[in-house]
Symmetry: C2
Subunit: 532 residues, 2 copies
């Protein structure tokens, strides 16, 4: 068996005992040796294939611990108008996409922002000009309005006579005719009739998204289940299909939908079943809503409001569900944004402890965006993984300041959690935010947007050192998978999951961390991505 | 990493290109090299640990492709009176077991045969003398009658006034009082009140059974799900619990209960998920009953009878279920004994083909005891694994002769199936028959009981060569797991699953094959059993 030797560049193995190595040898799917050139050469033997790093840095493969990977791929296949400031260019892009689609297929898009187009709302007439025959539907960047063409309105049966639904509005012209812009719940009138993506479309989307992930140096993904039946069957099915085709080129931990607890218990399925390519994770639950929609569940009212958000699963029910899951060897993976939601989940996990049995994977909280200071040490005490997405911090900090005020001192509180002994597992939440983990690492280290705002960083005392941020993308997610014996570091015997970067993260200024990319990504000793 | 070298004995690698090797090297969980001493030593390097075979033979680890492993362990924990011809010795054995049990626990036993005790049925009074305080229940060897004590009758509320249930009989004395023997459905009156085994009892039973399996040289098991809720939760749960404790020392393919198809579809679970230690198999279904109970479903009436047995799942429904399972990536594992049952399953698998998707594992028929000659080539044509238990042939041949007559020419038709290109996967059906695979290999090669009856073998044209029988315990089951790239042979790169035997199967006479045992069994390069 040929041994692959990487040398001639810094190899960051994320092992505190020996942070940088000169060379690394891989045999089969695992790392054979790491260290100085002579030691590695001696271990590698004679049948070697050498990869000359030419000074490029190597890091352990990154894990995105929270990514809706099929949805991200589907969003990528849509017309993407994010940041597009030229309305005519936007229409050209739509026209080109409309021509590529098969007859009858819906044109879908997202990311447009009419404030970049002079503030005039686009209309169905604009869309009809470039997409007359097929229905078209494009979400605004915030997801709160939808731009549709005449064919879509016709298929949805929306006319001047259609009343506005509760909680929504059909934008109308001076004659009362729908203009093609639908707000809030009125969007559902169209969305409800869009056929779900076909199997082939979903698999193509998945391949696209995985290739994008590999291009950043990601080698593992933790994937929530599909929650909307309109998005098609569960992601787990698509992953198994891709694997059956021999095309699963990234490792995946796939969580189970909360609604499927009875199925899992009925089958006797426990968290952790699977192998290093595809493994069953925990039961995905929702404790509350989101910051932007003011539905994150808070202990005290939102600033300037008289409400505290929504407990999607109330605390008593949360205890019941978590106890039932943990008593059947199924760990939980709970969406909790607000401080009350986080407390509810921590309380539920504490209550579940006496009857929890053989949990192969730790329980975890997803997002954990704002925490009461008393709850911060409880993550470590209860062994709960803090699965957080640093990019949410810099994307939402203005909204957070407005709605949470000075409580923000313990929001996105990576430093406090780490200092209290918690394990951090970082991710993207793509397609809600970019899939790019370097954007996340940049946010974790600077707590600034890529424009450098605010100066000095937002609540900079919560910043992480680069090595800590990298660990939250490597060893932290490995701990969440109970896989620290084989993932997260580049030590002998570990799986050969690594990335060769286009720059050295420990040498470039922090404000440029988000520009890093993989030039080569290896999973299990195989090159799964190489930049040409 | 130290390399283990085995040498100084014949190593049967089951690779037709190189049937016997002199030495074999193992590194980690896999085979590094196999061949002549010099080649293997050169590949092994300097850090080696040598196992001197001292002439003992090595074979690939065997797979039992059909074993109720928890039930087998539970049966092993009971008082076993199989072959016990001394009634007083039987009572002594029961008395000793009764004293070992915790207060209140049921004494359970099996295997007694009153024809060995002079023909007198044992009574509750006999049992009360050695087991007065706790309830006791012992199944006759054929499972059609139950011997219970007074405490068991009392707990079940069986008195002189209790009527015989439909299809059963309470044996009574001259005063109408129950004697302690219950026939057929009357056994359920007691069985229904026996508490299921506790979790600790099940896990202890599983450990015991796995150790027994390893002692024969078995390294993989294919396990049907628990079908009787009284036996406790599904075996899959116990296997995951054992694994969580780090005690899963044998590889397992675990099938799903037919009743759980909706759970599997709901979760999006497909056959093949798992790793080389624990993997999800197919959906276990029952097409018919059994030969002895005349419920195996036959194309023509049983000899001297006017009935054809029972289609437990009728053909139309079988097509529906198999089509639905296969269309969701779930293969089927169908119990079919009679020729009509086998045809029904083959028809169903053929009907399911157009919509079957991404079946990671092949469909299979369990038992396939008697086949219409027209159906024999269909196993290969449809890619259906013939999962058979050779010991059933020699245990049941007298009954088969009586009930199936000359149709027996294509019963237990290993040779015909193999010649028609089918893949055979052999197993034990323990605890119905012995777990010992060497008893099965003996039966497959001789078609005789271990007493040598009948002379020349029963339908000897269906005998297998030893190498073919071994393949049906090695490469055949590996094909049923879609694992021929890493299991079933001792070739470089394959998993180091092997057994060192106490004799050479290719040198000893066929009539002594059933005396072989493992002296050392290795799974994934680790010694999991060693005879002291």
């Amino acid at each position: 068996m040929t041994t692959i030797v990487l040398h001639n560049g810094p190899i960051y193995i994320l092992d505190p005992a020996q942070p940088v190595a000169q060379a690394l040898a891989i045999r089969g799917e695992r790392i054979l040796a790491v260290g100085d050139e002579a030691t590695v050469r001696a271990a590698a033997g004679n049948r070697i294939e050498v990869i000359d790093l030419r000074g490029r840095a190597v890091i352990p493969g990154l894990t995105d611990a929270h990514v809706h990977i099929v949805l991200h791929g589907l969003a990528r296949q849509q017309v993407r108008l994010t940041g597009c400031a030229d309305f005519m260019a936007a229409l050209d892009q739509i026209a080109a996409a409309a021509q590529r689609l098969p007859p009858g297929a819906w044109l879908r898009g997202n990311g447009w922002d009419h404030t970049l187009w002079g503030g005039r709302w686009p209309s169905r007439a604009d869309l009809d000009r470039v997409c007359p025959d097929r229905p078209a539907m494009l979400s605004r960047k915030d997801g709160h309005s939808l731009w549709v063409n005449s064919r879509a309105l016709e298929l949805a049966g929306i006319t001047a006579a259609t009343p506005d639904p509760d909680g929504g509005q059909i934008q109308r012209d001076e004659h009362g005719e729908p203009t093609g812009i639908l707000f809030e719940t009125a969007m559902e009138l169209v969305r409800a009739i869009v056929p779900p993506p076909t199997r082939a479309e979903r698999l193509a989307a998945l391949r696209l998204a995985i290739n994008e992930a590999l291009s950043y140096g990601l080698t593992s993904l933790h994937v929530p289940p599909a929650t909307n039946p309109a998005d098609g069957p569960d992601t787990l099915i698509d992953l198994q299909a891709l694997r059956a085709d021999g095309d699963l080129t990234i490792r995946v931990l796939a969580h189970i939908a909360g609604a499927h607890l009875d199925h899992a218990i009925g089958l006797g399925l426990r968290s952790g079943l699977g192998d290093d390519w595809l493994r069953i994770g925990g039961l995905k639950l929702f404790a509350d809503g989101s910051l932007g929609s003011e539905s994150a569940h808070m202990l005290a009212p939102y600033e300037g409001r008289d409400h505290t958000g929504i407990a999607v699963i109330p605390p008593a029910e949360m205890k019941e569900i978590v106890t039932r899951a943990n008593a059947h060897g199924i760990s939980v993976v709970v969406h909790a944004i607000g401080d009350a939601a986080n407390r509810s989940v921590l309380d539920a996990i504490a209550a579940a402890r006496p009857t929890a049995i053989h949990l192969a994977l730790p329980n975890r909280i997803e997002h954990a965006q704002i925490l009461d200071p008393h709850d911060i040490p409880r993550f470590a005490e209860l062994g709960v993984i803090a699965s957080m997405q640093p990019i949410h911090c810099t994307a939402d900090m203005a909204v957070a300041d407005r709605l949470w005020g000075k409580r923000c001192a313990t929001s996105y509180a990576w430093r406090s959690l780490l200092d209290a002994g918690a394990t951090l597992a970082f991710g993207s939440d793509a397609p809600v935010e970019t899939l790019d983990p370097w954007a996340g690492i940049h946010a974790a280290v600077t707590r600034q947007t890529t424009d450098g705002a605010p100066a000095g960083g937002w609540y900079p005392e919560q910043r992480l050192a680069l090595s800590e941020a990298l660990a939250a993308y490597c060893t932290g997610p490995a701990a969440a998978e109970a896989a620290t014996d084989r993932k997260g570091r580049l030590s002998p015997g570990m799986l050969a999951d690594l990335a060769v970067l286009n720059g050295d993260p420990f040498q470039i200024p922090a404000e440029r961390l988000h520009t890093l990319r993989a030039e080569l990504t290896m999973v299990g000793g195989k090159i799964m991505f190489e930049r040409r």
